[in-house]
Amino acid sequence: MNAFVADRAPAPVEDAGERELLLRVDNVSLAFGGVKAITDISFDIRKGEIRAIIGPNGAGKTSMLNVINGFYHPQEGTITWQGKVRRKMKPYEAASQGIARTFQNVALFKGMTTLDNIMSGRSLKMHRNFFWQLLWRGPAEREEIAHRRKVEDIIDFLEIQAIRKTPVGRLPYGLQKRVELGRALAMEPELLLLDEPMAGMNLEEKEDMSRFIIDVNQEFGTTIALIEHDMGVVMDLSDRVVVLDYGKKIADGPPEEVQASQAVIDAYLGVSH
């Protein structure tokens, strides 16, 4: 009857599990002395998907992210990133190869403005050396302007124009989280790792953040792996979910399947081990 009624039906998407492989983790184990943080975990992240990693506290989720971006080096197992197998990688190498992340506890430069914080995310992409920078005029200036333009796009995208020149230490927590996302986006990453992007936010802030995550995924085609405790958010946002408990993988699949899994229910409600 009305022309617009069908407008919002999303375009059919192929099953996330069949998309091109971006990252694969094979039989990874990580131990700190006698503490086994991760035991023999394997899963993959496919191009363009939103992949959630969930699990109760201490399940090894953040350790897993730290393994992926090279902060921790697993004792066993391999990581395949864009077709290349690697054992050891330093965080800055991961960054230069297109892996960006945000942190569970906001890790911004508190005394610097929003603009400068996001600009710092571009530093890996700046090519003019120190002497050019010192000279300033000419190529270094042009480069800075080009990067500033990118940063302004991100500021516009995240709707944080009003705090462009505000030192981030003065911002409320929800906005700091947004600035941190902005800094990660400034790297134009292939894979974006978000460690509890919505922790400590109120409902409205969560809704905003969810919208930004979806927009990043759709507009820029960025693959996203996120850790999140809010199950509503996880179930709504993600294409596939992997569930960890005590360092072991206990489920992996689409949200509705994972939600129905007895092992997951047990892990969250707690049964004796």
Partner: protein, 669 residues
Amino acid sequence: MFQGKKRHMVGSASASPRGEDTFPKILLHNAKVLGNRTAFREKEFGIWQSWTWSGVLEEIRAFSIGLQSLGLTAGDKIAIVGANRPRLYWAMVAAQALGAVPVPVYADSVAEEMAFVLGHAEVRFAVVEDQEQVDKLLSMAGEVPSLQHIIYDEPRGLRDYDHTRLHDYASVQEIGRDKLRQSPSLADEWERGFAGATGADIAVMLYTSGTTGRPKGVMLSFDNLIVSARNANIFDHLDESEEVLAYLPMAWIGDHVFSLAQAFTAGYCVNCPENMDTIDVDRREIAPTYFFAPPRVFENMLTMIMVRMEDAGKAKRAMFDYFMGVARKVGEKILNGETVGLKDRLLYRLGEFMVYGPLKNRMGLTRMKVGYTAGEAIGPEIFQFYRSLGLNLKQLYGQTEASVYITLQPDGEIYGDTVGKPAPQVELKIADNGEVMYRSPGVFVGYFKNDEATASTKTEDGWVHTGDAGIIADNGHLKIIDRAKDVGKLTDGALFAPKYIENKLKFFPNIKEAVAFGHERDMVGVFINIDLTAVGSWAERNNVNYASYQELAAHPDVYRMIEGHVDQVNRDLAREPMMAGAQIRRFLVLHKELDADDGELTRTQKVRRSFITERYGPLIEALYDGSSEKYVSTEVTFEDGRKGAIEATVEIRDMALHVAGKSFQEAAE
């Protein structure tokens, strides 16, 4: 001093309509005569992007031809929904060039309200700002069967939507540009298309926010807008060198006239802020020469200043207080050109350097030539504050139905309690019941599809009922007392003008909103809404702990502070013979902020008295039954449309009355 400039004025040199009697025609004229002058600016990516008049012509032409190929034709209605953006202003003129009628809609109105307006106006097209508006319109598509095409300015998040009826603004413009490239004669053809339009055609339809009942679609002709705008430009010597900031809702007549009608007729530049949160910064950067704001904006600016001064160091505060004292004493006299002693003049100069200048710079009013406030009465103390800084702030009285202007305060004839003399070509009279009536070239054509309302508002010979009660003072200035239907009497016969009392209360930075009751009752009772910014800052300094608005509002210390304010108001009222009988006997502090989303305020933030009377019935009864507290549960609507409830036990305080300056009986007469 502006006489010399006046000669260069475009389109506004004469009040009589010349060749250019529609906005598309004025656009052609401006592009020819003012081609390289900046017509629009918008801050984007942290930089002010600008367009010249000839650039604007190109933009509008391309979009207009794009709209035409989508099927927009004469007589169609096209909704404009969003914040102030150059492209949305252009869309209005682009539609007018095709003979279509733009209908700007309040972007923040809830879906139900918007659906009513769009459905009533029978819009076929809508030009909207972004995904939020697209979603809103799609959600109400069932209720607006006439809607065929939606065009959005900001493509973000809309990529996966079905684009058969949904279009990107840029792509519609591209259709137009393609066509123009293919046949260069199309530009002339497009111009010929509106050469035959006349000033009597409908230019725009604006839905009044309506303090009562459903919104009504006010139809304004090109003549209404253009003649009024030209008159106003002449009245205040405005020309193409002005800068204005377009930040008020586009659906409001004020913005339509200031940011479009007067901008086109005078040829001045319209600046669109980056977004709603950056207005303060953007205003500072632009420093508008002509500035318009409802009292609320001036109140907020003053509150911000006062709050910040409270936090300032002792020396700074002393300096501020001293020079504000000087300004209060002589500032207005100097502005009005009266004689002032040399010592005071020098002190004022020094104050300008030390305090007023930096303050004006903070507020972005350094270059302000003329500023207006309207929409509601402004607190006289607030008004004087700005004028004493040397800002030529004036009051005007207007209505959507009048294309804004009914009365204006001429330079140098400023009286805080009046709204000025009739605007050029406006006739004014007071009806027998005290209601203000006017007749002018700006008087609207009629309400869309509502002849009954048109007939009851506009008489056969063109006089319009304003619905406001007022008196014309001996000096020819109009004084508005209240809404005609709101002015009442207490049971003892004392005059009760609720707005008068409310405005007195609202001057206190701690009070954001007040609602007074008393008509046909034996005494005056008041609801008070605290201002969270001001009271929050006060609480911080005084170690008052609170977790929510509700808790702060009910705090005994807050009550004590508000009690002091109410007592001050009573003292003031006692001094005025007319009002002394209507002192506040009892008051309470509301547990929630009055909010437009809950229907308690209109979209222009005016109190909807009848709605509040209904909604808070139990609280009003409690004001009058002598109880000292009352439990209430109030339904609230969250921004996403869900509903919840706020429960509270609200305390009610009794006040002592002051002895009237004159005898009680006399005042009651």
